[in-house]
């Protein structure tokens, strides 16, 4: 399925799920707004209609979706949820809106009207309803499916945007018929003001979530929700760091003081015909605040998102989830687990759906998925069997074959089949080593037990720093000057160089394995990656960092010459 057909199919499925969530929900009219306290932003106020939406099963579901997935297994206090983040983002939206309005008392065209402010708040309130269990942990799986890729292509063709999978899912929820009916009910009960409940308002709210505006002169409104310096990021950077523990600081007050709705320069050739484009941007004197935000994000990649243990637990969970999906495709039922034969099925899940209570020990004769999930519950994690970095590859700077081999490994990281084939090679080699004369007494049982799912290959993508992409910075802080000059933000703050440095120093790939198999998998991985087509020889550091008590040096393994 492709094009409009795929959108219709997804929308019909989402409609059903939203209907089951909202159909029986009877929103209550509250007399006044509500104050909610938050550990990050303090006390914020929410309008009565926002509270009615927050109280709906659609939003309450987010209380059971952890913001940073399984990171709590590494940072025990990282237990914050999508619900908390949603509240925080709404609070930040209003601060950005007020900050912009304070700057333009004389420019009604740049002033954000009250109704627009309310719509942007509602977009923020709904921006994460498309998330599924453990946030990005499941997003990688449903977003990577062929069906979802087809949907993403169609959304891109319609709007010219490239939203993340959960954003597309949220967009589908907000534009669904049951959600529009729900908004109508809120208006009929006089809970929601009339000027934000028309079908075109709901459409605009949905489009904000994917970063699209029909009218480019109001693009800055979508930018507040989904753009280079959106409220989403301003909240999650502080929140993730606050709850996980690492100190990450940026100067929000300075950012708010300078962020603005700025009319972008038009290309010379079509200056007259080109429509007016107004984006959220920051004048040159505020760039430092934006730099801090971007560097904070890079730091969080190092501390949190790319932390080797977090990558490991996520990899373990993906293994279990993939097996579950394979079983569902074959029509096998997995105990209390809902079927996952289509990406939209994920919309019905929250974290507790995938806890071991729901997960039977055996699915279609396969015990490995159940075993992995109960290991995670006991926090018995796989361990590092090899650390991959360009710094640990012999001759990397000088040897062409090392570069080609390393590149082949990256290609393998993008190709599920090649990655599975490499893992299988490592598993088979590890089994051979286990069965060799030297070890067979101790490890015969382990050789029988070791399966493909017990060895993970993790080649993370480079951090994406889209914050600077296409952002134009006015040289003067007087945004409405007729002779305003602009420079691309990348000229003032060359982020690629930071990302290059991050990649060179901080980037790590890994082979993870079942703890008792680690020395064997280490030797097997070293040997396999030394063979064709990779031809990579690793320095001792690649093994030393794994802290293997008694590593098996490659000299001991069979077949090493």
């Amino acid at each position: 399925m492709e094009g409009p057909e795929v959108l219709d199919d997804f929308q019909a499925r989402v409609n059903q799920i939203v209907e089951s969530a909202l159909g029986a929900y009877d929103p209550k009219r509250r007399a006044k707004e509500k104050s909610i306290r938050d550990a990050v932003w303090g006390t914020s106020r929410y309008y009565s209609w926002e509270v009615a939406i927050l109280d709906s099963p659609l939003l309450q579901r987010l209380r059971d979706i952890r913001q940073t997935g399984l990171a709590y297994l590494v940072y025990p206090t990282a237990l914050h949820t999508r619900f908390d983040h949603t509240l925080g983002m709404v609070a930040v939206v209003s601060r950005i809106v007020r900050s912009i309005n304070d700057k333009h008392p004389q420019r009604p065209d740049l002033l954000i009207q009250h109704a627009d402010h309310l719509r942007v708040r509602l977009s923020a309130l709904l921006h994460d309803v498309g998330h599924s269990c453990l946030s990005h942990v499941s997003e990688v799986i449903f977003g990577g499916s062929d069906e979802f890729r087809a949907l993403t292509r169609h959304v891109n063709a319609l709007f010219g945007v490239t939203p993340k999978p959960h954003e597309i899912m949220s967009w589908l929820v907000v534009r669904s018929t049951p959600f529009q009916d729900f908004i109508r009910r809120l208006a009929e009960k006089r809970i929601l003001p009339e000027d934000v409940c028309k079908p075109e308002d709901v459409e605009a709210m949905a489009n904000n979530i994917i970063g699209y505006r029909k009218d480019p002169s109001t693009k800055f409104l979508a930018d507040i929700v989904n753009g280079p310096m959106d409220a989403d990021k301003l909240d999650y950077l502080v929140r993730d760091a606050y709850f996980a523990g690492p100190t990450v600081v940026y100067d929000l007050e300075r950012f708010l003081q300078t962020v603005d709705a700025i009319e972008y320069p038009r290309e010379q050739a079509d200056a007259r015909e080109a429509p007016k484009v107004v984006r959220l941007s920051i004048p040159i004197e505020g760039v430092t605040a934006l730099e801090q935000i971007i560097i904070s994000k890079l730091m969080l990649f190092s501390y949190l998102y790319h932390h080797h243990k977090i990558r490991c637990v996520e990899g373990m969970y993906h293994e279990a989830l993939k097996r579950w999906i394979e079983q569902a495709k074959e029509g096998k039922k997995a105990g209390a687990l809902p079927p996952l034969d289509h990406p939209v099925c994920f919309l019905a899940l929250s974290d507790r759906s995938l806890l071991p209570d729901a997960w039977p020990p055996e699915v279609g004769g396969d015990r490995v998925a159940g075993e992995i999930v109960s290991m995670l519950t006991r926090r018995e994690l796989y361990k590092r069997a090899l650390v991959i970095s360009r710094l640990f590859i012999v001759g990397h700077d000088t040897d062409q074959s090392a570069k080609t081999g390393f590149d082949k490994l990256f290609e393998c990281g993008r190709d599920l089949h090649a990655s599975d084939a490499l893992r299988q090679q490592i598993v088979e080699r590890a089994r051979e080593i286990m069965k060799s004369k030297r070890y067979k007494e101790q490890t015969r049982e382990l050789a029988k037990k070791l399966q493909l799912a017990h060895v993970l290959l993790d080649i993370p993508r480079s951090p994406t720093v889209e914050e600077t992409e296409g952002v134009m910075v006015p040289i003067s802080s007087q945004a409405d000057r007729a002779d305003q000059r602009f420079v691309p933000l990348t000229d003032v703050f060359p982020i690629e160089k930071w990302v290059d440095a991050y990649n060179a120093i901080k980037w790590r790939g890994h082979v993870f394995a079942l703890e008792e198999a680690v020395p064997f998998v280490n030797a097997a991985a070293l040997e396999t990656l030394r063979g064709i087509p990779y031809q990579l020889t690793f320095t001792a550091q690649a093994t030393d960092l794994c802290k293997i008590p008694e590593p098996i040096r490659p000299d001991y393994t069979l077949g090493i010459t």
Binding site: P343, Q400, T404, R414, D500
Partner: protein, 138 residues
């Protein structure tokens, strides 16, 4: 659900082929200009061309910014940078040096092309050299 990403793998191989073929041409230096806007626009043009889009069909461009931008291209360039296939020498960061002159993936990509696709590929390579390559004399 299946989760293969064959399309992006092909784009990766296509880019590798372009870069290594440029590096193999003695009339050009083993590098291309690290000009973001021009680079994204180059691939955007190919994506828009019904004849030639076959090579980059998997790429999705964001056209809401002030130039068409593809996140996947940035990711792939970072990946080549990480693996050492490309390097941006400081302090200027003006060029992407191409460190290799051939890879099995690029060869595999070109072998699979039909005669007509080979012709299209040659056209694209020629344009790439002219627009982003650096003639040896420079």
């Amino acid at each position: 659900m299946s989760t293969t990403c064959v399309g992006m793998l092909d784009v990766r191989k296509f880019l590798l082929a372009l870069f290594t073929d440029l590096a193999a041409d003695k009339n050009y230096s083993k590098c291309f200009r690290a000009a973001r806007k021009e680079l994204h626009r180059f691939f955007w043009r190919i994506r828009q061309d019904d004849r030639r889009k076959v090579f980059v069909e998997a790429l999705l461009f964001d056209t809401n910014g002030n130039y068409p931008h593809c996140q996947e291209i940035d990711e792939l360039l970072q990946e080549f940078q990480l693996s050492g296939v490309l390097s941006r020498p400081n302090p200027t960061y003006k060029y992407n040096d191409i460190a290799i002159t051939g890879t099995p993936s690029a060869t595999e990509f070109k072998v699979r092309l039909s005669p007509e696709e080979k012709q299209l590929y040659a056209e694209i390579l020629d344009e790439f050299k002219k627009e982003l390559g650096v003639p040896s004399a420079e």
